[in-house]
C-alpha cells in the first residue's frame, strides 16, 4: 500500500511534511481570529468562521498539527540516530502517522461544525482523543522496541526526553481528557478545572517542551561540532523537569476558589521551574560557547538557537507571572496570550522548525530546496513573534490595569482596539512565513533544488546535484 510504504525515515519525513501544511492552516485560523477582534462583522454570521469555533481550532492545530507533528517527526529520526538503530517498524510508524493526522483532522472538522468539549486544548471530541492516544501508544511502542534493539549501548539524553514526552503525554492526555467519560470529556466542578489545567499546562510542558529540548540536545552539539558539556547537568535537567513541571498547572487558577494548598504548590513549582530550564540552557550554552559562528551558517541550528532564546524569555516570564501579585494585573487579558504564543510558537515551534530544517536534508540526502527562502521565513517569524509579544503584552497591561482601576470590560474593549489591529497585521508575517515554509518543504521533500542556489553550490563547492 502506497500510504503505508516502508522506506527509511519515511515516517519522520511525512510527519515533517504534515507539520508544514498544518502550520499554514494554523496561522490562517489565527488570522481569522485576529480579524474577528478588529472587525467582528467582516466574517459575521458565518457559523464555520465564527471566533468561538476557530479559536480552539487555531490552538489545537498549532499545538498538535504544526508543532506536535514536527517534534514527533524529529523524534523518530533522532531516536534512530542516537541509538544507531533503524526505527523498529517503519510500517507501524506510517500507521501511527496516519492515525495522528486523521485524528487531528477529525478534531478540527468537528470543532468547526460546532462539536466541542469546551476545555482549553482538550476541545476535541472523544473519537479524536482516542486516535491521538492510539498514535502516541504506537509511537511509544516503536521507540521502545527501537531502544531495546539498540546497537549503541549508551542512551543519549535526547532519547530520554523523547521517552518522557511519549509516556507523560499519553498519561496526561488520558487523564486530562477524562476519556472514561466520552460524552463530556470532563469531571464535575472545581476538580474539573484543576484536572483541565493539569492537562492544559502539561500538554505544553510535558509534550512540547521535552521534545523540543530533545531536538536542542541533538542539534546543538552537532552544529557546534563539540561534545555535550555535562552528563550530570543533563541528568539534573531531565529528572527535575519531570518532577517540577507536573506540579504547576493550578497556577492558571490562582484567582478561582481552588484549595490554597494547591495554589501554594503550583506557585512554588512554577518558581522552581527555573532549575530545569536553567540547567538545560546552561548545559547547551556551555556546549556552544565560542562556536556561535557555526549556528549562523546552519539554518537549522539558527532556528534552534532562536528557539532557545525564546525559551529563556518564556521561562523567566513564567515564574514571574505565576506570582499572585503579578497575576492581579496580568491574568485574563492579552498578556497571557503573548506568553502562550512565546512558549508554543517562539520556543517549541521555532525549535521544531530548526529540527525540521536540520533533519530533512539528512533524510532526503539533498540540500533544502532553498536556504534563501528558509532565511526569509526565519526573519518573518522572528519579527512576527517579537512584534506579537510586544503588542499583546502592552495591550494586556492596558486591560489589566484598567480593570484594577474599576473600568468595565466594555470600556476596555475600545482601549485595546489599536493593539488588535497591529496584532492582526503582525499575524500576516506568520501566515507569510508559514506559506513560504510549506512551499520550501514540499519542494525539498520532492527533492527539488532552487536553480540559483544549485548553480552557486556548484561554483563554490563543485558539488554535483
Amino acid at each position: 500500500m502506497q500510504l503505508l510504504k516502508v522506506e527509511t525515515n519515511g515516517t519522520a519525513k511525512l510527519f515533517l511534511l504534515g507539520s508544514a501544511l498544518w502550520f499554514v492552516l494554523g496561522t490562517l485560523e489565527g488570522l481569522v481570529c485576529a480579524t474577528h477582534m478588529v472587525a467582528p462583522d467582516l466574517l459575521g454570521g458565518i457559523s464555520w468562521l465564527v471566533f468561538g469555533r476557530i479559536r480552539p481550532m487555531h490552538t489545537t492545530t498549532m499545538i498538535f498539527g504544526f508543532v506536535g507533528s514536527a517534534l514527533l517527526g524529529c523524534a523518530c529520526y533522532i531516536m534512530q540516530e542516537v541509538l544507531r538503530t533503524p526505527l523498529w517498524s517503519e510500517r507501524l510508524g506510517k500507521v501511527s502517522l496516519w492515525v495522528w493526522n486523521l485524528s487531528i483532522a477529525l478534531g478540527l472538522i468537528t470543532l468547526d461544525l460546532g462539536y466541542s468539549q469546551g476545555r482549553e486544548y482538550a476541545e476535541w471530541i472523544w473519537p479524536a482523543d482516542i486516535g491521538i492516544l492510539l498514535a502516541f501508544a504506537l509511537i511509544f511502542v516503536n521507540c521502545l522496541q527501537t531502544a531495546i534493539n539498540r546497537r549503541e549501548k549508551i542512551m543519549y539524553v535526547s532519547s530520554w526526553y523523547i521517552f518522557a514526552a511519549l509516556i507523560y503525554t499519553w498519561l496526561i492526555y488520558f487523564f486530562g481528557n477524562a476519556v472514561w467519560n466520552p460524552a463530556t470529556g470532563a469531571i464535575f466542578g472545581m476538580p474539573d478545572a484543576i484536572l483541565a489545567w493539569f492537562y492544559g499546562h502539561g500538554i505544553v510542558g510535558l509534550f512540547l517542551t521535552p521534545l523540543a529540548v530533545a531536538i536542542a540536545y541533538f542539534v546543538v552539539p552537532r552544529v557546534a561540532r563539540a561534545p555535550l558539556h555535562s552528563h550530570t547537568l543533563s541528568l539534573i535537567g531531565f529528572w527535575t523537569i519531570l518532577i517540577i513541571y507536573t506540579h504547576i498547572g493550578t497556577h492558571h487558577l490562582l484567582q478561582t476558589p481552588v484549595p490554597t494548598w494547591l495554589k501554594v504548590l503550583a506557585v512554588t513549582g512554577s518558581i522552581a521551574m527555573i532549575i530545569p530550564v536553567m540547567t538545560v540552557l546552561g548545559n547547551l550554552w556551555l556546549t556552544m560557547r565560542g562556536r556561535l559562528g557555526f549556528f549562523h551558517q546552519d539554518i537549522g541550528g539558527r532556528f534552534v538557537m532562536a528557539g532557545l532564546l525564546w525559551y529563556i524569555l518564556t521561562c523567566l516570564q513564567g515564574p514571574i507571572q505565576a506570582l499572585p501579585v503579578v497575576q492581579k494585573v496580568t491574568h485574563l487579558n492579552n498578556w497571557v496570550i503573548a506568553h502562550s504564543h512565546m512558549g508554543v510558537f517562539g520556543f517549541a515551534g521555532t525549535i521544531a522548525l530548526g529540527g525540521l530544517y536540520y533533519i530533512l536534508p539528512r533524510i532526503t540526502g539533498k540540500p533544502i530546496y532553498s536556504i534563501r527562502l528558509a532565511d526569509v521565513q526565519y526573519w518573518l517569524l522572528l519579527l512576527g513573534m517579537s512584534g506579537f509579544f510586544a503588542v499583546l503584552t502592552a495591550g494586556g497591561l492596558v486591560q489589566g490595569n484598567s480593570w484594577l482601576n474599576g473600568e468595565t470590560v466594555y470600556r476596555t474593549v475600545p482601549m485595546v482596539h489599536v493593539y488588535f489591529i497591529v496584532r492582526a497585521a503582525v499575524g500576516l508575517l506568520f501566515v507569510g512565513g508559514a506559506l513560504i515554509g510549506a512551499y520550501n518543504i514540499v519542494r525539498t521533500v520532492r527533492g527539488d533544488q532552487a536553480p540559483a542556489e544549485e548553480r552557486m553550490r556548484l561554483q563554490v563547492y563543485g558539488e554535483t546535484p
Binding site: P40, D41, F51, D192, A196, P257
Partner: protein
C-alpha cells in the same frame, strides 16, 4: 547514572503517580465532596441545552465565569465560591475576559435584550467585538438565552423575577399611550431627582463628549436621531424610548441622570453606573436634552456653588 528504557519508563511512572495523586486525585476527593453553595440550584433541561450551545460554540474563550475579590465589573456582587460549581461539567471558568464575566449574568438583562444582542451584539452595545450569532436556530437561541438567565443560580432567579415583574408594568405603561408612559417612567424616579436640574452648564465641549458617549452606548436602541428606532428596536418590547416625546412632559436633568445611572429594570434599558462616571452621565443626559428633547435645564436654579472648572459668566 546509566539510562536505559526500563529506568526511563519506571522512573517516569514513579514520578507521575504521586503527582497525579497529589494534584488531581486529592483535590478531586477533598473538593469534590463539598456541599453546594447557598445560591446553587439544579439547571432545567432547556438551561442545560443552552449550556451545550455555549460550550460547543466556544463562548468560554472570551467570557469567564468567576469573580475575583478585586473585580468591579458586572457580577462583582458575588465573589466565586467552589460550591457554586459542583454541577459544572465541563468547567467553564475561562481564561480570558475579552468580554465581561458571566457568572452573575442571569437577570442582568431581559430576554428581548439578549435576542437583539445575540443577533448582532453591536445592536445594543455599539463598541462590542463579539461575533454575531444569527446563524443559531430559534431553538438554540431560546435555549442559550435560558442558560444566560440561569447564570448566578438563585441570585439570578431573583433578578429574573424582578425583570419579569417590571416588564409587565413597563409594557402596560407603554400600551397606555405616550403621556401615561412618560408619567409612569417619571413616577418611578425618586422625588429629589425629579426636581433636580443638571448642575453643570451646557457647553459645546460637553455636548461633544455627550455625543461621543451617546454613539458608543445609546445609539443601538435609541437611534441616531433619538427617536428610538435604532437597529435593536425590532427586537425590543417595550421599544426604546423616543426622546422627542419627553418635551414639555416634566423631564429634568435629574430624571435623565437617574435613569441612565440606574436603567429601567424590566426593559432593555440597562444601568450605566458601572460603565460611565458621573460627569459622563451628565454630559450624555444634556446631549439628549439639547439635541433630541430640544430643551435643557443645565445650570438652572436651584443650584449650589459652581464647580471650580465652570466658566465664570452667569456664575455664582
Amino acid at each position: 547514572m546509566r539510562m536505559n528504557p526500563s529506568v526511563l519508563v519506571l522512573g517516569g511512572l514513579l514520578i507521575f503517580a504521586p503527582v497525579l495523586f497529589m494534584h488531581v486525585i486529592l483535590p478531586w476527593l477533598t473538593v469534590g465532596g463539598e456541599p453546594p453553595s447557598e445560591i446553587h440550584r439544579a439547571r432545567t433541561t432547556i438551561e442545560d441545552e443552552g449550556r451545550s450551545v455555549y460550550v460547543n460554540n466556544g463562548c468560554t474563550f472570551c467570557h469567564t465565569q468567576f469573580i475575583r475579590n478585586f473585580d468591579w465589573g458586572v457580577g462583582a456582587q458575588r465573589v466565586a465560591h467552589s460550591g457554586d460549581y459542583i454541577a459544572e461539567q465541563p468547567h467553564l471558568l475561562g481564561t480570558e475576559r475579552t468580554g465581561p464575566d458571566l457568572s452573575q449574568e442571569g437577570g442582568e438583562h431581559p430576554d428581548d435584550w439578549h435576542a437583539a444582542h445575540f443577533r448582532n451584539p453591536r445592536f445594543v452595545r455599539p463598541e462590542s467585538i463579539m461575533p454575531s450569532w444569527n446563524f443559531f436556530s430559534g431553538a438554540e437561541m431560546i435555549a442559550l438565552v435560558a442558560y444566560m438567565q440561569s447564570l448566578g443560580y438563585k441570585m439570578a432567579d431573583d433578578r429574573t423575577a424582578r425583570q419579569k415583574y417590571w416588564k409587565d408594568e413597563a409594557v402596560a405603561a407603554f400600551e397606555s399611550g405616550p403621556q401615561k408612559n412618560v408619567e409612569w417612567l417619571h413616577g418611578h424616579v425618586p422625588e429629589p431627582w425629579t426636581k433636580l436640574p443638571n448642575p453643570y452648564m451646557s457647553s459645546r465641549p460637553g455636548l461633544l463628549r455627550g455625543h461621543r458617549i451617546y454613539q458608543t452606548q445609546c445609539i443601538g436602541c435609541h437611534g441616531p436621531i433619538g427617536d428610538g428606532m435604532g437597529p435593536a428596536q425590532p427586537f425590543l418590547y417595550p421599544p426604546p424610548l423616543n426622546f422627542t416625546l419627553l418635551k414639555d412632559r416634566g423631564i429634568t436633568g435629574g430624571i435623565l441622570y437617574y435613569q441612565i445611572m440606574n436603567g429601567i429594570t424590566g426593559t432593555a434599558m440597562p444601568y450605566f453606573k458601572k460603565d460611565l462616571e458621573s460627569e459622563k452621565i451628565w454630559d450624555v443626559g444634556n446631549y439628549v436634552a439639547v439635541t433630541f428633547i430640544g430643551r435643557t435645564d443645565a445650570h438652572a436654579e436651584p443650584r449650589g456653588i459652581d464647580a471650580s472648572n465652570e466658566p465664570v459668566e452667569n456664575a455664582k
